[in-house]
């Protein structure tokens, strides 16, 4: 009897251990696996619109702003360069728990001619699915026959990630619960790059959709027809749009229209959207937060004008997550706007006008006598008494709601320490540390860290010497 108990104990402990190891080591990509995980967490039958497609879908269609504008609950259920076959299985998966009034298919990825994506995309676009026949079918269609076993035995793919593990692997919501707990798949880009408008004239020429893409595009249309789902096929606007893509999408439009569904190529509506190619994009394919917001306003109107949606009551507890997600987006956008300021005077104005969700940590990395007058003026404007007795090398001040407080070194050795959502912010003579990253530049001058208490993150960090701002965002 004792031996049986022992054997069972061994088995139990092994199962628990291996389960824990699997949880830590499994892939947690936000562009294909984590969005599905978030989708499964949605309450049943609360999502109005499911958006399928590649990163053109989930980085360009701002679900939070659409919610705020319309009260429509949308979800970006895309994957990295997700081909049509992966979109098809995502659609099948989505309707198991939701009854969307509209399925939107972002059609860019169907223009890519390939039978199989690369390994990382095969993993990203299938591993998030819950184990089912559909998942097995998805893996089989996504990978060559001789490699099915390789991808079906998931653990063999990620067991050797021991060198790549990060804090996100150990903590829930990838260590960003504020952002991801109420996530609806939208991957916002806070980076901005300048582009020029694509010079494309769509003369209506048709080019064939690549075979396998076409096959599964038709399957998506057929599935929607058979299950009474409304489908809208769109193409979001992007700088790298070209004629070949336009011609293939012309063929895609034919299929959609033939089936009685709408097809809209928003590359033909960039003026109406108000696209500013100098700030609306982070890359040649993906919008910046500014661009996504702009597009979301336009797209929201399109949805309300063309489909019969009933806006949800924003006080409905079922949709509290959408409200929270929108707020989170606003906080992040606020911080992103702060980071865009390069002029010293504009920056000092912005710092002075920070809302109550932010506070500033100032650390001097010099003697006061070495500081430029403009910096001394800045410190004085914050109420910091700048004399050689009051400000020394390594001194630290916290400015909350405009009131500066000098941090004295405590008996623990640091000047300031506080936890925000499990993450620790510490200021000491060696620097300003957040999540083990030192935001203090080791150059003479003043280090300024703006901390966002809503997003639990460093909104901005700059080092100021004389009147020159060196921004290094870590």
């Amino acid at each position: 009897m004792k031996k049986i108990i022992y054997y069972l104990s061994v088995l139990l402990v092994l199962i628990i251990t291996l389960y824990g190891i699997n949880k830590i080591f499994s892939f947690k990509y936000p562009d294909g696996i984590y969005d599905l995980k978030s989708f499964y967490r949605m309450e049943k039958n609360t999502v109005d619109v499911v958006i399928l497609g590649s990163s053109h879908a989930f980085e360009n269609i701002n679900t939070e702003v659409i919610w705020n504008d319309t009260g429509i609950a949308t979800f970006d259920l895309g994957g990295s360069v997700a081909p049509m076959w992966n979109c098809y299985y995502y659609l099948k998966e989505a309707v198991k728990t939701q009854k969307p009034k509209l399925v939107i298919l972002e059609a860019f990825s169907m223009t890519i001619d390939w039978d199989y994506t690369d390994d990382s995309r095969i993993i990203k676009n299938t591993y998030g699915l819950k184990m089912s026949k559909d998942k097995i079918d998805a893996i089989k269609v996504s990978s060559p026959r001789e490699r099915w076993v390789e991808f079906l035995v998931q653990y063999a793919q990620y067991h050797n990630r021991y060198k790549d593990l990060t804090v996100a692997d150990y903590k829930a919501y990838l260590n960003d619960p504020l952002m991801l707990k109420n996530w609806h798949g939208f991957g916002c880009n806070y980076e901005i790059n300048e582009f020029s408008a694509p010079n494309v004239y769509n003369d209506g020429t048709r080019e064939a959709i690549p075979n396998k893409q076409e096959q599964y595009y038709k399957e998506i249309i057929k599935y929607c027809k058979e299950n009474g789902l409304e489908l809208l096929v769109i193409v979001t606007p992007y700088p790298d749009y070209n004629e070949k893509v336009a011609h293939i999408l012309n063929s895609a439009k034919d299929y959609a229209v033939e089936a009685g569904y709408k097809f809209v190529d928003f590359n033909e509506h960039t003026d109406e959207i108000g696209i500013d190619w100098s700030e609306d994009y982070a890359s040649g394919a993906h919008m910046s937060y500014i661009g996504s917001e702009k597009f979301a306003h336009y797209f929201s109107k399109y949805l309300m004008d063309n489909y019969d949606f009933a806006s949800h009551d924003k006080t409905d507890i079922k949709y509290a997550g959408y409200n929270q997600a929108y707020e989170n987006y606003i906080y992040k956008a606020y911080d992103a706007n702060l980071k865009r300021i390069t002029d010293f005077d504009d920056y000092t104005d912005a710092i002075k006008k920070l809302d109550e969700n932010h506070f500033v940590i100032v650390q001097t990395k010099t003697q006061i006598k070495n500081l430029d007058n403009s910096l001394i003026d800045l410190l004085k404007s914050w109420g910091i008494d700048c004399t050689s007795d009051t400000v020394n090398d390594g001194d630290c001040f916290i400015i909350e709601k405009g009131v500066p407080v000098k941090c004295e070194i405590s008996e623990y050795g640091y000047s300031y320490a506080k936890r925000f959502g499990g993450k620790e912010l510490v200021a000491c003579k060696d620097g300003i540390f957040f999540e083990r990253t030192n935001f203090m530049e080791d150059e003479e001058g003043v280090n300024i860290v703006v901390f966002d208490t809503k997003t639990h993150s460093v909104a901005d960090s700059i080092n100021v010497r004389k009147d020159k701002i060196d921004r290094y965002f870590k």
Binding site: Y6, Y7, L14, V149, H159, N160, K163
Partner: protein, 496 residues
């Protein structure tokens, strides 16, 4: 099908289930089918070879036994010679024909004789060296009347092809394995034996997947391009090769023993902490025990062993080790490797009186720990040096390799971190070091407590046992060399 493959992980449970569920009297038939399936997963056609060897030695043994008791003992000897010849001929054809041809061509070149170039492109059947020796050992045992011939062809075929030890040993003795096969209908399901068997399999997988396949990356990298590395890297690669070979080969034997254990069989132990040996002679009592005892019993002793004077003993020793080297591979590097071990043992014997005089003269305590450690290290260095020939592609490469160790000695590489750029980075090196510590502890337990680590852990308290099992299994799962980044590396001794 290798032990650390998905195929085996599906095959083995099925074979166990069938074994314990079908009627006991026909168990051997099921195991025989499983064994042939196992072998045919390598190459179906070569199963005919093992069948040929089986039938030849089966029939030959029966005939030998019939005539051994009669007046025509000479005929029995002739039949034995014929059986040995046929089996060795097959082995020579598949394994040594190109080697022999190259020797002939070299002689012709020296003599200035023209010759047609013939190359034998046939693949080496997996395990041929092992099952051939196992079958021949049986036949010789029958001749020596150590064992009665097995009349049931299927049971005998199972003895030759028993899948746990078919491809890379241990080379079983007929008096150990055959009686177990004959009585297998009496084997009952024993959960302790099954648990121990699986524990041994886990331990074997740990040695193979965590240690052997990990060090193999560095070894392959350095030996593959030795001419771009300095002495320290070459020494490290040779040290790691000794670990790779040991863990790779031992893991196969342990998994074989564990698999057999689950089925209720006890195979012979093939390794007994060989790197703790204090002399090369002792090393061969601990390394690849099944092969070394085979050569001792069927080559060294028939040659006269140590019964015909000192010189003859040394000659017999050299012949045995040269043949042992040749058994490992059809190349002069293996012959030299074997020859080195023969020379080591002769030297040990010749220098023993001098050694004793020196110890007496300087009052050296030979029983203290430091002296034992010195002898272990000395033995290890000698063995490791010989491994250079074992691993090198040819003799010239081996000699060049050795020369570079001294001529291109580069100790500064230790401080520059260059040692972590040979294929194993710091993280993997730490993983390896922890695993090696466990291996060293295991060998010390084997040496001083004379039990395996599996048996040692089994005698501990339940909590320790549980933690150890979970640790080893987790270690394999996380750090084992498997998945798309790795190929399931073949066990090294498959090539023999």
């Amino acid at each position: 099908m290798v032990f650390n493959s998905l195929h085996y992980m599906i095959f083995f449970p099925i074979s166990i289930m069938g074994y314990y569920l079908i009627p006991k009297k026909i168990r051997y038939v099921w195991l025989l089918i499983c064994s042939y399936y196992f072998y045919m997963s390598w190459n179906p056609v070569y199963s005919l070879l093992i069948l040929l060897s089986t039938v030849c030695t089966y029939a030959g043994s029966i005939v030998v036994h019939k005539f051994i008791n009669s007046t025509d003992r000479v005929f029995a000897k002739k039949v034995l010679a014929a059986v040995i010849s046929v089996n060795l001929a097959i082995l020579i054809y598949f394994k040594y024909s190109n080697f022999l041809l190259s020797i002939i061509y070299s002689v012709c070149d020296i003599a200035g004789v023209k010759y047609p170039v013939i190359t034998n492109n046939v693949l080496l059947p997996v395990g041929i060296s092992f099952y051939t020796f196992q079958a021949l050992g049986y036949t010789i045992d029958v001749y020596r009347e150590k064992i009665a011939p097995e009349r049931n062809l299927f049971k005998y075929a199972l003895f030759v092809s028993f899948f746990p030890q078919l491809v890379a040993g241990p080379i079983e003795r007929s008096e150990n394995l055959l009686p177990q096969i004959q009585k297998m209908h009496n084997i009952k399901f024993d959960k302790d034996a099954v648990y121990k068997g699986f524990s041994m399999i886990m331990w074997g997988l740990f040695l193979k997947m965590v240690i052997a396949d990990r060090v193999a990356v560095l070894v392959d990298n350095v030996y593959g391009r030795y001419y771009t590395y300095g002495g320290i890297e070459l020494m490290l690669a040779t040290l790691f090769f000794s670990i790779q070979l040991y863990c790779d080969f031992m893991s196969y034997s342990i998994i074989a023993m564990g698999s057999a254990k689950v089925l209720g069989f006890n195979l012979m132990n093939n390794f007994d902490a060989p790197y703790t040996a204090m002399s090369v002679k002792e090393f061969w009592r601990r390394w690849h025990i099944s092969l070394s005892t085979w050569f001792k019993e069927y080559v060294y002793i028939p040659l006269g062993g140590n019964r015909k004077g000192r010189l003859r003993t040394y000659i017999n020793l050299m012949i045995t080790f040269l043949l042992s080297g040749l058994w490992h591979g059809a190349s002069f590097t293996f012959v030299i490797w074997g020859g080195l071990h023969g020379i080591y043992q002769i030297a040990e014997s010749v220098l023993e009186p001098l050694n004793n005089k020196i110890n007496k003269l300087f009052s050296i305590d030979t029983k203290c720990f430091s002296h034992k450690l010195f002898r272990m290290v000395k033995t290890f260095i000698l063995v490791d040096f010989a491994w250079i020939f074992f691993r090198s592609a040819n003799i010239k490469s081996a000699l060049s390799f050795i020369k570079r160790i001294f001529v291109d000695f580069d100790p500064w590489i230790i401080s520059t971190g260059g040692l972590f750029e040979l294929g194993i980075d710091r993280v993997d090196m730490n993983i390896l070091l922890l695993a090696l510590i466990i291996l060293i502890i295991s060998d010390c337990i084997m040496r001083f407590k004379k039990i395996s680590i599996v048996d040692f852990v089994a005698t501990q308290n339940a909590v320790f046992k549980l933690m150890f099992v979970c640790f080893i299994v987790s270690y394999i799962f996380i750090f084992g060399a498997y998945g798309p980044v790795f190929d399931a590396k073949q066990f090294i001794y498959f090539q023999f």
